[in-house]
């Protein structure tokens, strides 16, 4: 047996974001679930340690005893990643992050997303750059949602974003990784974690992202909109782990023609 298959070479280094170590490379959202019980069960099944939330107005005078998401997804157990979903300007995104920081007792890791329009939910890069700069200056640790443009990804990294998160396809589309070559280019240049955020539809999409060499995958709808979200969460956990292992193992080269698996020597016919 060669050394290549030994136990020591089967160990992966953990994901590190802003100096904190994570065993799971799957990050999940908490939107679109039927109720908080389903949210909790799916997130447990996913094994995720970083969980995104949105910041919205509190209901005034309606259901005062209503359970709070943060009672179910406790900041003591999970790294809460507040997002700026629904923001179309840098100003709104910065304001949202400041409220999130106050809400989470000074926690300064945020997912920045500034959207361009409602139909595509594509990132508005101009506004994203403005917001990222302002947030970093204010001490935030920014994980930034962006297009799969390698030049912009590099610029966001150079500005000081702690992770760059290109889309695989539009948010909630489930179309998978539409431009794996761009993701590869982003990965080649990167010195911060690169996570595919948005576009994953099913387990194989998450595996493809990880096989490309991404440091992690962030998803919400692929789990929440599955017929059985808890089972899909478990599938995604496995898919991310499988893709990561396949990346580390290094795939065989693609060849146009066949190559026999059984030896030719010793044939008796």
């Amino acid at each position: 047996m060669t050394n290549q298959g030994s136990a020591s070479s089967l160990v992966d280094s953990p994901l590190v974001i802003d100096g904190k170590t994570y065993q799971s490379r799957l990050l999940v959202g908490t939107g679109k679930y039927k109720n908080l019980d389903e949210t909790r069960e799916a997130i447990t099944a996913s094994g995720a340690e970083i969980v995104t939330v949105a910041v919205r107005r509190t209901n005034i005078g309606q259901n005062p005893g209503e359970p709070n998401l943060l009672d179910v997804i406790s900041p003591d157990k999970y790294t809460i990643l507040p997002n700026t979903a629904g923001c179309y300007t840098a100003k709104d995104a910065v304001r949202t992050c400041k409220l999130a920081r106050e809400l989470l007792g000074g926690h300064n890791l945020v997912k920045l997303e500034v959207l361009g329009d409602q139909k595509t939910l594509y990132p508005d890069i101009t506004e994203t750059l403005i917001a990222a700069e302002e947030l970093i200056k204010d001490g935030f640790k920014v994980m930034v949602y962006t297009t799969d443009d390698p030049i912009i990804a590099k610029r966001l990294e150079e500005m000081g974003c702690v992770a760059v998160m290109p889309l695989g396809a539009p948010i909630g589309s489930g179309l998978g990784i539409r431009n794996p070559y761009n993701i590869r280019m982003i990965l080649e240049n990167a010195t911060v974690p690169i996570l595919v955020d948005a576009g994953v539809g099913t387990a194989s999409d998450a595996t493809i992202a990880m096989e490309l060499g991404c440091d992690g995958v962030l998803m919400n709808t692929a789990i929440a909109a599955a017929q059985n979200p808890v089972m899909m969460a478990r599938a995604m956990k496995g898919a991310v782990e499988c893709g990561r292992d396949a990346f580390l193992a290094g795939r065989m080269p693609r060849k146009l023609y066949a190559s026999a698996s059984s030896p030719i020597d010793g044939t008796f016919f």
Binding site: V55, T58, P64, L99, A100
Partner: protein, 66 residues
């Protein structure tokens, strides 16, 4: 006096602090954040900052999102 709370007019007693308003809304123990006239109000200042007529407040919390 009237203030604007989460986009809606709300009548409250004069001499109300932010904490008084939070308690009036039954949000005393909730995980919330408060913004007054576009400025974040740290939790430690909720009891000392008094509201004025015409103030605009946002009270937010975390909900499900991606």
């Amino acid at each position: 006096m009237d203030v604007i709370l989460n986009g809606e007019p709300k009548t409250i007693k004069s001499d109300s602090s932010i904490l008084d308003l939070i308690q009036l809304l039954d949000l005393g123990d909730a995980r919330i954040a408060v913004e007054l006239n576009l400025e974040i109000v740290p939790r430690s200042e909720h009891s000392t900052i008094m509201l004025k007529a015409g103030d605009t407040l946002e009270i937010v919390h975390a909900i499900g999102g991606g």
